[in-house]
Amino acid sequence: MITKMQLVNLTADKGMVDEVLRRFIDFKGFHPVDNQKILTTVHGSSTFEGGNPATELLDQIHEIESELNLTLLPVKTRKLKTNLDDMHQYILKSHEEFKVEFDDIKALEQENSNILIALKQLENLAELDLSFDDLFSTKFVSVRIGKLPFDSIERIRYYSHKPFIFIPFSEEKETKALWCLYLTSNEYKREIDNLFTSLYFERVYIPDFVHGTPENAKEALQAMIKHNEKEIDEFRQILINLGLKYQERLGIIKGELEFLDLMYKSRQHIVLLGDRMSISGFIEAKSVESFNRLFDGLASVNIDDADAQSDRRFTPPTKLKNNWFSKPFETYVEMYGTPTYGSIDPTSLMAITYTLLFGMMFGDLGQGLVLSLIGFLLGKFKNWSLGPIVARIGLSGAFFGLIYGEFFGNQDFLMPLYDMLGISFLPFHAMSNENTMTLVLMSVGFGALLLLMSISVSTFYKFKLKEYAKAITSPNGLAGLIFYGYIVFGVVATMLLGVQGLFSIIPIILLIIVPVLLMFLQEPLERKFHGHQMFPDGIGGFLTEGVFELFEILLSYVTNTLSFLRVAGFVLVHAGLMMVVNTLANDGTNIIALIIGNLFVMGLEGLLVSIQVLRLEFYEMFSRYYDGDGIVFNPIS
């Protein structure tokens, strides 16, 4: 159902704006109109100019929060006790104090990061049994540590006559580069460095803080990391204490800034005309009284309320209100589009038809109950939006499982139940030959019923919205209802009940040909109804186009009806899949295979069926009676 709205217009003296807004911002449930539509149509009207002074300061507060990793709880206020300059100074001062500790923490983290890089390098040099201090303190020999790429390794031996000593260590797995070291005398340092550079030697610089052999250095560095981490924790504690010191005052400032922010945001919706200000919007009809009470005692405030559709400039927003069973299905409806205010809310219809169709196609008592349980648990504890839907459709699946006699794919398990209850016509085994035709016919029949229901709903709402021409001539109006309804009735009555004469000349003319003609002439008749020319582009053009459109319309009745064959299809699919599972589980003796098979079928079929049913809903049904062109109710907060 769509919640009834009222269009309210609050006017007051311009000087009252702050007071009005102060009371106004606490009202949850006010959907403002687009005031540009007023500004462009009312001469002399204007709006408040200027930026929001609270934005920058709020950003600074958020920065402090993120740096400290804490959330300041704003102290709710409706009065500004501090002026903006004082707020700014206080925020700056606190930020500076935090910054000192914060910078220290950053420096230590950076140092740790450098140490980690050095440690990684040391891993590659683990085989070196020399002290770095000894290596790098040599006076006459130069030492270089680094890695040589794979394509240069084989060239080294060609330079064996050159004055250097080459010591390889380990090979890097990814790049096949060789970690190594070379020594040369200072005299030949330049030549040998050039040589190795030409071999694409990547030199690695061991940091000054690394001492001893790689093994020793590793230990020392790891100790350093631990020490730094301890210091970081201490600084963080100082930060926390600082946070506590400033928290209260900053919380108050944050509250004031948020209040100021709300005020400025609400100002955007105000229209000024002379000495008066006004703000217009939609609220729920039941909330009008409480809205009025908010402004009791304020002189010069005047509140007018009118029907939501009274002003053609504004489209009323839609807020859905549904019962416990249907509410979760609003997610699906909003996926298609928001219902237009004043037209149908298809949620309840969808809830019932979706649940029934899913149940029919999924039909298994055991799997249905498990699915329902999973949906319930996920919806309750993990806030999964589809959880409640799954809980409902699972139960429907379980119900139809009782009809098909399926319990985790086992068709014998429920037999005693039927015997006990003395029900001879159940179970309805989908896979048995005598039931196949019945299943197919029932699926198509059910589909035809749903289509008739959709067309009826469409006709009703078209009449309600006073679109009489459309209501009568549209394929989803009276013409379509009579045409399709009579054919379905005629076929059923002739085939099943043996009634004769339903397709004789007079019924055909009155109940088939006339509606078809009306559908064919839908647009010209609508134009005539509104006082326009019937064939503005000439009758020839209309006929050419109209014939193909009519063909498409008639074909769509057939295709939409036959689309419901998939219901029968999936019933058979489920039965077939479970037969396979049972075979693989040796008729249920292999429990593991049975469990895995059931879970697999539940997951796969559950997903497939839910998508197929959604398709039927959206394409076969919604397209006939539902537009989804509405605006969502979006109150300012």
Partner: protein, 343 residues
Amino acid sequence: MIGAQNALVTKIKTIRSNDLKTSDYNELLKKRSITDVASYLKKHPGYIEVLSKVSENSVNRSRLESLIRRQKFNDLMRIIKFLKMKDQSFYLLSLLHQEHEVLLSMIRSFISSEAYDVVKDLPVYFNQYSKIDFEAIALTKNLSEFVAALNNTKYYDMLRPFENIKNEDIKYYEFEALFENDYYQYAFEHINKHYKGRQKKELEDVFKSRIEIENITKIYRLKKYYKAGNLEIKSTLIPTNRIGEQKLDKLLKIDDPNLILAQIIEMGDKTYVGEQDQVYLEYFTDHMQYRIANKLMYYGTHPTKVFLGYMILSDLEIRNLIHLIEGIRYQVPEGEIRTMMVF
């Protein structure tokens, strides 16, 4: 036997499928730095083997060229290793070519007056496939030492007549001609030995066409850039009886090198001549080779012909990439680089 041949043809074509396509070249032409080229090739299936372990930021022009040559060599070896020993002899022609390149690079190092680190450019990965002692020749400084280091190879006898020539007197083209002769001699010997009838004739025709193109190009170059005499030019030509002696003399008598150029163009398809006054000669001859190779590759049914086609195409790809890399390195305009490439 037929099955084994088909398997080899399939193998060659599979390896060829990883080579660069027109779209790849067009993408590469848009690159403006060696790093970008390396980055592109690194992701290409044809070069992923050698380049995946290399950081594109640490790759310079010469290293990239060396890695490209290495990749192509690896691909060739994949085909050769697929063969039984007795079938390998003709296919080892590609290794012979590599050996000649190594020897020529050493000779260039002797000629070069600057300090030249020959080891840097040596395809050392090739060492295990050749009888040449790379370590020994890398240390030589002149022809005398060089010949001595080639002691256990066939090149010892081939180069002995030149061992006393001083570095400043070396005529590089003489050695080029020497090795070219060796290459074609090997080719014709093995064609004669292993093939008969139409197969033999077709293979011989391919090589004779190549010789013809190279000879005429040589005549043009030596006349235009070196102002060499006819006798000198004749001594550098590869002997073939495809162009008769008389025709060759006729070409040699043409004084104006540009008329020889016109003759070269006549031999091929005129559509490859650009609007420029000076057609880039190598592009033209490369293009002729490309056409021959493509025909062999796609229409050849015998693996030898397909392999020959692949060898030429592989070589062309290396040259294309080197032109591209050098062009980018020296900031040559894209259009000009394109004229040097064949694809």
